[in-house]
Symmetry: C2
Subunit: 213 residues, 2 copies
DNA sequence: GGGAATATGTGAAAAAGTTATCAAATAACC
DNA sequence: GGTTATTTGATAACTTTTTCACATATTCCC
């Protein structure tokens, strides 16, 4: 359990990729696989996969490969997804509603259990089985409902304010869809998803053809 | 124009960050800035910024710094966002509708001009001023409407099929929200946004406290 | 049980990316 | 106009990440 080395953030991201590939194999009733086969499946190199796994221990059988179910369970435990996570949503607008209505997260163990907004027309309602509270109540509501992860889907101008409310409620992990930096205490982790930046990335490679591929 | 070195993908992503920071400064009527000030603004090091810019040329004035407007224009040109991009949307479900209704992209020059779906109840309708066509018509509709970037917001099981349709319509740049790999010809660039993976990333750091921060 | 085949885990090499350093260039000031 | 203070751009040093290569462990099969 006591891991010496610092784990690269890219390795953590790839762990998710491996988990998904293993889920697929498990669904297909495949019992064993190898770093080589996995590499082909996910589009990476075998060495990369073995190196990533080596940060966390030894999961394979030389001459045989990996037992799909076993490796899946190990990686799920490492990622902390061998459990259910309760998620709080701030901002039930267009994007927020799409997230609420999406059942793909629940399938992966992420369950939106409470929502917050600022709009009086929405506060008090229940959408998709999730009750919407006033964001000002977050600091009181959150500690009671057990949510540990927050999602911010409010306009950029309100993002800092909404984030502060979630942090005041005790959340330490936040996924934000709002463009722009959010300031949080050092013990809070924020992951941003900036869709405009993804489009700009595509724009770059579309404009400068031949730099990739 | 003829750049010798290969540009790191991370540099391209940071270019977007710089552009946003410069936009902000321009709105505040700031005329000049420096790598040092920019670094503080975006949370990077000054050396990193100068290095990134150096891939593309010389934009600064020693002893003075950078002219905000000038640098913004240069970076916008490099990223290819000094123009309007027409975007095609495949899948007008919960997420697709949120994207359609979002005006933030248009502000950055990305304009959804056409949508595709498979659901007969949606085909033929016009939502948010955007007409929804049968995805099967994509190969005929796309060449006429000028869209160059595609966004995939269909269920994972249909993602490959929808992508094939967009590619058949001539698109070479695609942003996909569907989980899982999509196979495309080598001249097509796909950027995936996997929200479940972002949540798993948060789960990891929430589970293994103290590995970051 | 032994030998061939296979695929891991790991240390070393290579590549990529980031940070530090500094000479050269420019501006501001007197 | 010359001196000083800045800040760039480039190079060098360093760090991180990826790839390579192979000894080692295990299975499979005869
Ligand atoms: N819709 C998209 O497709 C899309 C795409 C990329 C990024 N985003 C980003 O996601 C965020 C949400 O986008 P949207 O389109 O859903 O916006 P929206 O305007 O549809 O919804 C925003 C919601 O947040 C609520 N809100 C506002 N201030 C609040 C506060 N302080 N606390 C709690 N709730 C508050 C509003 O009442 C509203 O319900 C924005 O930051 C946007 O930039 C959205
Ligand atoms: N909704 C979310 O918040 C969310 C979050 C993360 C990822 N995603 C992903 O985004 C995608 C869309 O999610 P959603 O919630 O909007 O789904 P949805 O079911 O609400 O909408 C899907 C839409 O795609 C259409 N469609 C199905 N097959 C098609 C095809 N072959 N061609 C064209 N259109 C087709 C459907 O008619 C429907 O309108 C999914 O892949 C999902 O995994 C969604």
């Amino acid at each position: 359990m006591a891991r010496a080395k610092k784990i690269p953030s890219t390795t953590v991201s790839r762990l998710s990729v491996y988990v998904r590939a293993l889920q697929k194999l498990r669904n297909e009733a495949v019992v064993t696989t190898s770093s080589e086969k996995l590499a082909e499946q996910v589009g990476l190199t075998a060495a990369q996969i073995r190196k990533d796994l080596a940060y966390f221990g030894q999961f394979g059988v030389p001459g045989r490969g990996y037992y799909v179910e076993n490796l899946h369970n190990e990686l799920a435990m490492i990622l902390g997804i061998n459990r259910r996570w309760e998620v709080a949503l701030a901002g039930v607008g267009h994007l927020g509603y799409a997230l609420l209505a999406y059942n793909g997260f629940k399938k992966q163990g992420f369950d939106v259990v409470v929502a917050f907004d600022k709009d009086p027309a929405k506060i008090g309602q229940t959408w998709e089985g999730v009750k919407i509270y006033d964001i000002a109540e977050a600091r009181h509501v959150l500690p009671e409902c057990g949510a540990e992860i927050g999602i911010i889907a409010v306009p950029a101008a309100s993002a800092q304010e909404a984030c502060d409310a979630l942090v005041a409620g005790g959340l330490k992990s936040i996924l934000s869809f709002a463009p722009g930096r959010i300031i949080v205490p050092p013990d809070v982790t924020v992951k941003r998803v900036e869709l405009a930046m993804e489009l700009e990335w595509l724009s770059y490679y579309a404009t400068n053809i031949g730099e990739r591929g």
